[in-house]
Symmetry: C2
Subunit: 418 residues, 2 copies
């Protein structure tokens, strides 16, 4: 079964709109065992929209189309699909009544424009929209199923989970088992080379896809379930073990969890607390750590000591040390880590100092040079790295390496006690 | 002229791959006056890829296709397009020689697989790839132009700027003037209502598109240049003035700049410094401020005082105050802002305390309740907000409101001195 997602809206064809709906829908479809074959984005122009709908009907069995169900002039999805399918639009009194009631509850009269949302394509079922006025539509065109869903995330998400997913599960279709392995600390080509012996033993039907972005890699495995689930699980387990042999030290999660979630889990299970001293990462490490719900159980504070004076005043880094080695140095990183650990009372002190760029680099301390230090009761470790890319890339990769240093520090080496 | 962007790669059909290439290409195309009509994402399967290419050839005049030019089995874009167009693939010795040289420079032998990147579609020009082995391709199919570009961001970006954009500018096509107005502090429906009188005076040809995400709105204006540029500029200026009348207080930038860049500019031009005390935002405000190059000129530090003890120890917030009002209160926000201002020596002290969620809320202090305080020499202002959405939404909207508070504090009210 081929599935296509269509996102409708001229704003989606601009440079900085993050289409989070497609990602959300894809995650839900994948979890239900359905892979996405095509994703299309098209504007509000009705000819372009008709073209995109016809294309999807010609190549996919399940089409999820989102956007263009609103009350404005630009919202044309209902009528365009009706025209493409050669079906009528029917006015439904009870939908109009619900829309009027929704406005009345807020002390308003329903604008006339919203009443166009009461029209339903002949033959379609409506999908209730608890967070908006436009109901979604679910209809069949031959063996195909087409869903029209609203654009706003807070409207589409409950509708997709309550009314679309259950219809898909009823249709059946092959279940697909999935594993996501996440890695950091090596580049894409190095990972590909180490994966060669793994690719050699992948059986037909098992999918292995790699994704790479600066500082973060992932390997996705999929195995269709034909016959007993245990056989498919065993097939995947064999590949995972091979990947572990090839890439073990670089793997930070085997279930898709983020690095900050993994670190949080390790801190929590060992009853340890952490505090950070951030210079070039500017608060990004603390922001990532605190993205994890419940992080207040192990995260005490972060001192974003951007200027040199604050390094001395907050962390006790001697002014003479900064003058002698420079703010971006192993000595200062070490002093920052020990300082935040001491002044916060945390079990672990994590410090980062570096040159994020694009300016600020010199011949001896180029853009991308970053020192990371981790202070624990038993001592302080310091690493030196050189990251490439934009300011945001250097910040992010620094946060990855810093968090991974904590992860490795809390993970017992094979055969050795913690 | 209709333009389509095709992104090739099965990884792009998974839930968490951020396709930043499309956004980058769209920005470049828009700047050259070219709008994007279609964006498609397709996997490595050669039938699906052929289908996507044929669809694009049937509906677009300019097709930018990225991905699938690598050396692996899954890289099939070259041969699939050749088959769709009915053209031959020709081996080019000089490309093979360059690929071998690239590996030799790194002390390696070129893998046999990379030699498939020496094949060029008959009639195509090659586009040099300084950061990778695969050259891009530029070819004509009738009146259409098709570009095949590599997937990795660090390879496609220089190639697009050096070799694709100049070819597009040579083709000519209508220049389009563009303005981006960014706003915060009101919801999408409220903005739409205030824009009604503006929509009424928009002349034909001028495009007005709105984008909304939690905490951030933007209005994009486009005007095609027919005749003298000044006439198109004047048309846009008239609309911008109307938008200013309708939405003035909510507008933070009129040139697409981020809120943190605008705030940075205001601090710099007034010679003021700022320090932050962040609880629920967890370092996000400092991270955003330091995303702006040169921010060390005005940003001193941030104390991410996640736990109550650190609020007392770092900022001098009296323990009794926290016990009496709770960490999430106007009184504590005020004390945090005054505290960071005093201890850092900054001109402005910005503090945020709230309940980010999903847990931690109570009847009197629900998830999304956030207090923001700004301390200046003349006094401290505190605001109370209730944000909706996920943990990340609450964090982001808090950072938006906090930065906007600083912006408004540094922007003279109409007719009044600062």
């Amino acid at each position: 079964m081929k599935t296509e997602i269509i996102a409708v809206g001229t704003e989606l064809l601009t440079p900085d709109f993050q289409d989070t709906n497609s990602l959300f829908l894809t995650a839900g479809l994948n979890a239900a065992g359905i892979e996405v074959a095509f994703k299309s984005v098209v504007g509000d122009d009705s000819r372009d929209l008709a073209c995109a709908l016809r294309t999807a009907i010609g190549r996919a069995d399940l089409i999820l189309c989102m956007g263009g169900l609103g009350p404005t002039e630009d919202d044309r999805t209902r009528e365009t699909l009706a025209r493409v399918l050669g079906k009528k639009l029917l006015f439904r009194k009870e939908i109009a009544a619900r829309i009027r009631e929704r406005f009345r509850r807020r002390g308003l009269r329903a604008p006339a424009a919203n009443l166009k949302q009461s029209y339903v394509i002949d033959g379609a079922e409506t999908l209730d929209n608890p967070n908006g006025t436009a109901p979604g539509l679910w209809l069949a065109a031959g063996r195909r199923r087409i869903a029209l869903l609203p654009g706003p995330p807070r409207e589409i998400r409950p509708m997709f989970e309550s009314h679309v997913l259950p219809r898909l599960e009823r249709r059946g279709g092959a279940t697909v088992l999935r594993r996501v392995i996440r890695l950091t600390g090596l580049g894409e080509s190095a990972m590909e080379m180490k994966l060669k012996p793994v690719y050699a033993i992948v059986p037909p039907g098992v999918g292995v896809t790699t994704l790479a972005s600066p500082g973060d890699l992932s390997i996705r495995l999929t195995a269709p379930v034909k016959g007993p689930v245990e056989a498919a699980e065993a097939r995947l387990d064999r590949i995972v073990r091979a990947i572990d042999r090839a890439l073990g030290p670089y793997i930070y999660s085997r279930d898709g969890s983020s690095l900050e979630a993994v670190v949080g889990g390790l801190l929590r299970s060992r009853g340890l607390t952490i505090a950070c001293a951030e210079s070039c990462t500017g608060g990004l490490i603390a922001s990532r750590i605190t993205d994890v719900p419940g992080s207040s159980a192990y995260f005490l504070e972060s001192a974003v000591t951007y200027g040199d004076r604050s390094k001395t005043r907050r962390l006790g880094v001697p002014k003479a040390l900064i003058e002698r080695h420079g703010a971006v140095s192993a000595a200062v990183a070490r002093a920052m880590a020990a300082g935040i650990r001491r002044t916060s009372g945390a079990g672990l002190g994590l410090a980062v100092t570096g040159v994020a760029g694009p300016g600020g680099g010199t011949a001896s301390k180029p853009v991308g040079l970053v020192y990371i230090a981790l202070a624990r009761a038993r001592g302080t470790a310091v690493t030196r790295s050189l990251f490439f890319g934009s300011r945001e890339d250097v910040k992010f990769q620094s946060s990855q390496k810093a968090l991974d240093l904590v992860r490795k520090s809390l993970t017992p080496a094979r055969g050795k006690p913690l």
